[in-house]
Structure formats: structure tokens, C-alpha cells
Amino acid sequence: MNGELQAFFEQNGYSPQAAAVASGLALALLSAVMLLGLLFVNSIFFVWLERKVAGRIQDRLGPTRVGGKFGWLQTIADGIKLLFKEDLIPQKADGLLFRLAPYLTFAGVYAAFIALPFAQGWVAYGSASGALSIGVLFVLAMLSTEVFGILLAGYGSGSKWALFGGMREAAQMVSYEVPLALSVLVPVIATGSMDLGHIAREQQGWFWEWFLFRDPFTFLAFWVYFICAIASCKRAPFDLAEAESELVAGFHTEYSGIRWLFFFLAEYSAMFAVSGLAVILFFGGWHLGLPFWTFFATGPELSQVLAWPHPVLSLGNVVNALVFLLKCYLLVFVQMWIRWTLPRLRIDQVMMTCLKYLLPIACFLLLGISLWEVFLRSLVGPYCKATLATLVVGSLTITLIQIWRSPASQPPTLEVAVPWNPTRPPSIPQPKA
């Protein structure tokens, strides 16, 4: 696409050098705007989803008024409300840092999407053959720059609650980066490459090719990664920084309006980024898990249809991108589900979980995957895959069947002795004299 754009600019009177510069800048701008649009739309959807999930788990309905029966436009209404809020900066706040912090936080998370591929060749920096060669390290590095924005927000607010929240949050995020990076190294060792496109391509085929089922160490690595990801997104049960019952609102106490919106944009984008990384590393990336391109195609017709109109911008890739987004949304839904189910951990419990449990487990997994790759993979690889896949799918099926058959999922029947007559109020027992 770079060549075609350059030719377009050259035809309009730019010299070859200027055309090269202009086409490079135009492509970068296009990727940036598309990613920004995706993040905004995602955040709008996630805010609505969070409120619905929260409502349903708490046995109520969630937003039902704005925009029809399901409250589709609730987030838009919230956004408009936030636009009109007063822009308040506390007197003791450091003006520059207070204003800079939300954008710094969001910029760190936004930059992580440069290396995240959504389908074969659909990546902001990369080609059809692969994404950034050190994609995993890049995503981790960008997600770790979010900490600084939180610290500046806490310090720049000029209030002690914000400062405590910010420092606790920074300590938590920085501590959880270590087992996060170690558990992310496990699929990297399994593949031998840090290129996210390459890692996703290794998992094509049936769903038991996914790294989740590959060997027990990547299986456990997913759980360690997911817990560390929830902690690094400061979601419950690790949400000491925004603990409403303890610190008013933690590091974003003094923020209102659009600045607050940027913090939540950053949080939901971080959730999406870590879910995307989990999907690529463990859940097969953009592959459906049922290779029906090859399974149902009796001839090359289906693969030709799916490769139309362009090798990269093809129908097959559109389906792949939708599958990827669906898997990401599923993981984000699981994160929200966990948030509204589990109680919050204390700060010492948070640190203990990281340093005493997750870090040794992650080190053990790193050792295990190295030994597995050297010795055991050729011996027991396929059997392990089959066993793990059967276990996971089997337990998931049994759980779903039990939920469907449980008494709690049937609607309650109401037995009334005396049917209530709407014209006559029910009799109220008189108090004894």
C-alpha cells in the first residue's frame, strides 16, 4: 500500500522523495486514526457492558432507559454529560502534571496497539508476513508506561488521598509486571519468536493447536498471565487504587469531565490490550479453531472467495478480525464478571499474592517450558494436547449443562393462596391494641 500511495502523491506533483515522506506520514496517520476509532468505540461498548453485567450479577437490570429497552445510548449520554462538566483544577495541584497525566496514561496504552495484529497482516506496524519482530516485548513495555501517568495523577492532584492511591497503584502495577513478563515468556519460548503474528500463525488449525492446550506449562501460564493482567489493569479484586470505600476514588479523585474520561478510556483500552495479548498468545489469535476454510472447501473456490479482493484486505481476514474481536470481548467480559463477583483484596494480600505465589509459580513455569521444549515435547506433545483439550472442553460443557439444569436458572413460580384483586387493596393486619 505504501507504493500505491507514493505513486498517487507523485502524480500530484510531489518529487519522489517528498512523495515517500508524504505516503509514510499518511499511512501512519491512517493507522493511528483507525486505532483511535476502534478504542473509542470499544470503550463506549465496554462502559455499557460493564453496567449491564454489574446489574445482572447484582440481580437488577442495568441501564434500560436511554436508547431503547437495553440502554444502548447510555454511554453516549454519559459522555455528553462529562463534556459539560466544570473543568476543575484544585488550588494545590501542580498544573502541568495534573493536565498531563490523563493523556500520558492513555498514550502509553494506545501505543501498545502498534504491535497488536487483528488478522493476518492487519497490524499498525508490520507487513503481511509479520508484525513487529519484538511485538511481545513492545506491548509489555508500552503497558508498563501507564504507571507513570497514574503516579503523576496522584501527585499532581495535590491531595493526600490521591497521592496514597497513586503510590499504592504504582507499587501494585510495577510488582505485577514481573510475573506478567515471566508468564508471557512461556509461549515465546514455545514458539521461539516474539513476533505476535508468527505466534498466532503457529496456532492455526483445530482448536487443540491453541497454546492453551499445548502443554501444562502454557496452560498454567495463561492463568498466571490472566491474574497479573487483571492486577495490572487495576480491576477488582486488585482495585485498591480506585477503592470507593477506602480512598474516595484513589488517584482520580480530583479529576472530572473529559480528564476523567481519558482515565477510563485508558483503563478499558488496557483491558482490551491485555485481552488481545492473551488471545494471541494462548487462544489461537484470529483463528477460529475450526478450520472450515480447508475443511468444507472441496476445491479452491472457497479459499479464493475468502482471499478476495486483496491478499491482506480479504474476506477471510475480515472474518478473522471479527473472530479475534469476539474472543477479546469474551475475555473482557470475564474480567468484568470477576470484578463484580469477588471481594477486594487488601494491599498486603495483593503484594503477597504477587511476590509469594505468582512469582515463584511463574519462575517454575519458565523452567518447566524450557525443559519441556528440550526433552518432552517430541515424546508426549500430542497426547498432552489431546488430554488438556478434552479436560478443558469437557469441564466447560459439564459446567454449562449443570448451570442450565440447575434450579436457580429456572424462573421462580409464585404460589398465591389468595389471588390479589387489583380493585381491592390486600388486607393489612391491624396492630394489636
Binding site: 519482530s133 519484538i134 509489555l140 510495577v174
Partner: protein
């Protein structure tokens, strides 16, 4: 004026201005923020030079680690915000004159370095992939390109041999362990009574 040149001037300007701001800001937290931008600009320059692994490592280690440490140190040792430690004019003028002199000397030296630019067709290329870095660090020298044995310029070129960096890698890991223990010990909470000033 290729894209590389545009990006270089933007990144270099950003880095240089942030470095100036680090030096001349009075408030220490703002100085830390400008240092963060300088380090991020340096990481961008690493990406521009094609050293992608180094750029990501710089961001992860420096921005995500060292700067958080520095900011924590600043916040834990904060005095009253109004009393920022100011340096007087005499010390500033001495420092600036030494700085300008040093920069002049360095520029004179740099002009003696033979100018190297790229061939026109390769204005941007990646440096060695991270797998070669990893092979070198793990001692597998057969996967890495041959290097000069010493840096001494000589009339007849020395034979190229393969080197690896396993020993420095191990030393650095032991060093980091020692630093971890030492820093934790040095910064422990002390329970002795207050000493007289």
C-alpha cells in the same frame, strides 16, 4: 529529506528540549517528568536506528522501572513544595561555562570522525534481530557475525573471530542480584532513636 530525516529531527528536537528542561527546571517532580520524556525520545531514536529490541528494552527498563523508582524517591524525600532547592547564579554560571566548553571540545573532536551516511537505497534498515543478540548473550557464538578481536586500528586488518557475551551476561545477573539485596538493605526502615543534628 526522507521520512527518516523528518523523524530524526522531530525525535532529536524532542529529546534535546526535554534534556534542557531537566536541567533548568526548579521543581524536582517536573524534572523527573522531563527526564521521562528524554528517555522516551531516546527509545524512539533507538527504534529509528533500527535497534528495535533495545528501544523496547529501554522503555520497559528505564521508563517503566527506573523512572518509577526515581519518582518514588522524589515523593518519599519530599520537603515542603515551596522550598525547592535553588542554586545561586555563581554556581549556575560555572556549570554552564564548563558545559559549553565541553560541548565545544566534543564538537571539535566529532568533526574528526569520518562522516558516514547510508547508501541511498538503504536509508532505514533493521539492525541485528533479537535472536542474534540472544545467541550472543547465551554463548552461542556460531549464530552471530564475526567481530574484531580488539578495537585497535592497525595497518593490516586483524583476523575476525567470533565472540560471545556469556560472561558479561552472567556477571550482570549476579550484579543485579547483589544490587537488589544491597538496595533493600540500605533503604530498610531503621528503628534506632533520632540522632542529634
Amino acid at each position: 529529506m526522507t521520512l527518516v530525516a523528518v523523524l530524526f529531527w522531530i525525535l532529536a528536537g524532542f529529546t534535546a528540549l526535554s534534556a534542557l528542561a531537566v536541567t533548568f527546571t526548579t521543581r524536582i517532580v517536573r524534572s523527573a517528568v522531563w527526564l521521562l520524556f528524554t528517555l522516551a525520545g531516546t527509545a524512539g531514536l533507538f527504534f529509528l536506528l533500527g535497534a528495535e529490541f533495545l528501544g523496547a528494552a529501554q522503555l520497559l527498563i528505564y521508563v517503566g522501572g527506573t523512572m518509577v523508582l526515581v519518582i518514588f524517591g522524589v515523593m518519599l524525600t519530599a520537603s515542603h513544595p515551596a522550598s525547592s532547592l535553588q542554586t545561586n547564579i555563581a554556581e549556575w554560571s560555572l556549570a554552564l561555562s564548563v558545559g559549553v566548553l565541553l560541548y565545544a571540545v566534543l564538537c571539535v573532536v566529532l568533526f574528526s570522525v569520518p562522516a558516514v551516511t547510508d547508501a541511498p537505497e538503504e536509508t532505514s534498515r533493521s539492525l541485528l534481530a533479537s535472536k542474534y543478540l540472544g545467541s550472543a548473550l547465551l554463548g552461542n557464538s556460531s549464530a552471530t557475525p564475526a567481530a574484531w578481536l580488539t578495537g585497535f586500528p592497525s595497518e593490516k586488518p586483524l583476523p575476525r573471530t567470533r565472540v560471545h557475551y556469556l560472561l558479561p551476561f552472567e556477571i550482570v545477573s549476579i550484579h543485579l542480584l547483589v544490587v537488589l539485596v544491597g538496595a533493600a538493605y540500605l533503604a530498610r526502615a531503621k528503628r534506632r532513636p533520632e540522632t542529634k543534628p
